[in-house]
Structures are given as C-alpha cells and as structure tokens.
Amino acid sequence: MKKLRVFRETIDKWLGYLLSILMALMVLDVVWGVVARYLLNNPSSFTDELAGYLLIWVGLLGASLASGKGMHLAIDLLPQKLEGKKKQRLEIVIEVLIFLFALSILVIGGIRLVYITLKLGQTSPSLGLPLGYVYLVLPLSGIFIMFYSAINILEELNDELQEELEID
C-alpha cells in the first residue's frame, strides 16, 4: 500500500510538471499572437489553432489530475447524508463508475477516434499537424483517470478492511 502511494505521488508530480509546461506554452503562444497582430502588424496564422489544441490537452490532462485528487466538480448531496460504511460503499461505486467511463469512452472510444483520424490523414489547416496526434490526449487522460480511480478503490477497500480489524 505504501509503495502504491509513492508511485501515485510520482505520477502526480510529473503530470503536474507536464501541465505547467503546456500552460506556459499556451501563455507564450497567445502573447505572441497579440504581439504579432497589434505590434508587428504581421498576424501569424498558427497561434489560434495551437492555443486551441493546447487548451484541449491542458483541459483533459488537468481533469485526470483533478479527478485523482478528488478536486473535480461533484454534486455531493448523497455522500453528505451518508455516514460510515454506507458512505465508503458509495465512494467505491462512484469510483467504479468513473473507471468504467474512462475505459469505455476515453480509452476505447478515444483509441478508435485516434486510429480513424490517423488512417484518414486529416491535417490541421494552418499547422499541417495530423489531428490524430491532438486526439491522442483522449486515451492518455483516460488511462490516468483509470489509474487514479483504481488506486482510490484499493485505498477505500484497504481502509474498510483495517477498520474491521480494529473493531475485532
């Protein structure tokens, strides 16, 4: 269990670094777009497109980090009403649902989308970038979300087990 926690913290750290880099790139890109258009009077055609793609990456990878830390938006009407064992059970059900969503929609659906887009060779209009690479973030973030929810489930189960041992 301890090893798992360390592993999770490493992933947290590196994902955080990656997100900071992407965010910094996005800021630079948008600033360059403004400078080129209003100061240099020679607007560049790629900044808008790149900013859009970076936003997709930051959004989805950020969502996986947030869901791992339990920071994502949630309607917690039900969890607040429950206590003890019932609450833990509910947490597990929620994590399983998140896991299944990430697996079916993000990973399987995402891989299908990436495969089709790469196969049909759609490119972005100004950068000429194959759009399949942009969509690669879907399965990637799906894998992260699955990883986090799997760990969360294991931890919940572990807690439950320990509590039972204490009671005994």
């Binding site: 055609s45 089709i116 887009t117 049909l120 759609q122 972005s124 209009p125 100004s126």
Partner: protein, 340 residues
C-alpha cells in the same frame, strides 16, 4: 410518499413506451444533415427541397432532417462526425474539405475557371465527379456541388483596382492554405479572422479588407463598414454535399439512386436561387453606398501564376488534376473557335 412512487413508475412506463414505439418505426430511416448556414440561405433551402424530393421518391421510407446554423458543429467537426458515421450527410465549403482530401485544392485555386459556364462544365464532368467519388477513400462520398459564386475583395479605405493596390493591406481570409498564399502572392498580408468577428475587425481597422461572394457580404452586413467592392472574382469555391460511406453502404442500390437523384435536382434548384440572390445582393450593396469596381482580372490572374508551379514538385497528384481542369477548358474554347 406513495403517490410520488406511483408517479415515478408512470414516468418510467411512458419512457419505456417511447423507446418501444421508436423501435417499431425502424423501417423509416431518417438521415441527419448538418449545415453551418442559416435557414434562409439558398443552399439550406435547396437541401430542404432535396429532403422533400427524397421523401416523395421513397414513399416516406427515406427522410432527411436538416440541422442548419451549425447546430451540430462547424464544418470541420461535421465532416469528422460524418467520417465516423455519427451524422449521415453534411454540406461544407470546398475550402473546408482541403484538410480531409487535399485534391480539393484544385478547384479552390484562384482563376482556375475561365468563366461561370466553364466552371459548371468542369464540375459536372469526369474531373468533378472524380473529386466527389475519390473522397470515398476518406470515408465520405460527395453527392453534388452547390454553387457559391465567385469571391472578390472588399475594402474599407482604399479601392483595389490592380494587385499593387493590395500592398501593405491586411486582408482577412478563410483559414485555408490556398487563400493565405493567394493574398500573399498578390502582395497583401493575409490574416485569418473568424467570420463572426470580421464585422468589428473591419470597423476597428484590425483588417483593411476581406474577400467574399456578394450574398455573404450582404447577409453579414459587412457592407455597412466597407466602402469599395472590387469584382476581381479571384476564386469560385463551391459548396459540396457529402454522405457518410458507412451510411451509403447500408443502403440498397434503389435507395442510393433516389438520394443521388434528389441531390442532383436540389443542385439545379440551388443554382437558380443563387443567381437571383447574387443579383439582389449586389443591388442592395450598391444602394447602400458601396462603390462597385470592375478591375482588370487578367492583372490579378498573372500575379498568382507561381502558385500553379508550386504544386508541380510538391504535390504531383494535385498538379495533374489542376492541369486536367485547365486542359479541359482550353479544349472546349479551341473547339468553339474552330466552329466559328
């Protein structure tokens, strides 16, 4: 408590019933058609006409539901949804197809068509058909072309009479490789600005001009902030109607024939509507005080020639297509001269 429970049961039953009813109707197929244009646009009207024709032909078994105004996404998104089969049909500008099927760049080239008649002839010919059907490689099948007229420059401060007038002017273009190159060849600086932001961009001087066909200039009311409209007619980029190959292959040959016929009929219908609208738009634009200029087109055509050479080495496939289009028009012109 009991009554709420009963209420939920009733809601559930009604819901299940709905599902059952919709399953029972499965011998009627409704095709979703996505379009970015407004409901009053002639192309949308033509597609509604196609839906009517198809319903008549198939006795109501095949129907088309048109979703206008970009409800299902912009043109690029619609094409993507079409490829994976989430929507059945979509109408997009040929400029948007460039990043899916690069051969479409051939008909987006400036001054590729000698005149309107030649354009209709080329698009109707084997070359036009091969572009439509060649897209099947990319999981989309072209059904027909809709006319979108010719695009010309309009500007806020300076009239454009010859290419050198464009020097130092910032011209808004569509987000397309060909359009950017063309403006640069002519000496202007190309600025991709989203169409919806163009009105204020012209007003505030972010760009000095833009280019479009008369109906778009009229409908977007950008003529209110423009002073000159130079009818140099540099590009004639048509709209294209696509059907998903996933859907197409599910249909039997009779159904395929119905759809193709209905599409062809709607294209004919649209061309009439478009011609009327172009006349009306030009009249309205002129009456609002915009000066209409008729520049010498050959000066502009000469300037963009290097673009044709570029594809010789870069994209031989496309170059061959472009040459075939030029050849075809030359042949018909020389045949006419012989008969005289």
């Amino acid at each position: 408590m009991k009554s709420t429970k009963r209420f939920y049961v009733v809601v559930l039953l009604v819901f299940l019933g709905q599902i059952l009813i919709s399953c029972g109707k499965s011998n009627v197929r409704v095709i979703k058609l996505a379009s970015a244009l407004s409901p009053s646009h002639p192309v949308t009207k033509a597609m509604k006409y196609m839906a009517k024709q198809l319903k008549k032909k198939s006795d109501g078994k095949l129907q088309i539901k048109v979703y206008p105004s970009g409800q299902l996404g912009d043109e690029r998104e619609a094409l993507e949804l079409l490829q994976i089969g989430s929507i059945g049909m979509t109408k997009v500008s040929a400029a948007a197809v460039e990043s899916f099927n690069p051969n479409f760049k051939a008909i987006d080239m400036p001054y590729i068509f000698k005149n309107d008649q030649q354009r209709f002839r080329v698009l109707r010919s084997k070359i036009g058909k091969s572009l439509l059907l060649g897209s099947q490689k990319y999981w989309m099948r072209g059904l027909c072309y809709y006319d979108a007229g010719s695009r010309s420059f309009y500007s806020t401060n300076k009239p454009i009479r010859k290419p050198s007038d464009l020097k130092g002017m910032k011209i808004r273009v569509q987000n397309s490789d060909i359009a950017v190159q063309m403006v640069q060849q002519l000496g202007g600086s190309a600025t991709p600005v989203p169409f919806g932001e163009l009105y204020s961009a012209l007003q505030q001087g972010v760009v000095d001009g833009a280019e479009n066909n008369p109906p778009s200039l009229y409908f977007s009311r950008q003529y209110e902030v423009s002073k000159y409209y130079s009818l140099d007619k540099h590009t004639s980029i048509p709209d294209v109607l696509f059907i998903s190959t996933i859907l197409w292959n599910q249909l039997n040959s009779q159904q395929q024939k119905w759809i193709q016929e209905a599409a062809d009929e709607s294209a004919k219908y649209e061309r009439k509507l478009w011609a009327q609208l172009t006349k009306k738009s030009l009249k309205e634009i002129k009456e609002s005080g915009v000066k209409i200029i008729h520049p010498d087109k050959s000066l502009f055509a000469k300037k963009v020639q290097p673009m044709y050479e570029r594809y010789k080495t870069e994209h031989p496939d496309l170059y061959k297509k472009i040459q075939a289009i030029i050849q075809m028009q030359n042949d018909s012109l020389s045949a006419k001269n012989d008969s005289l």
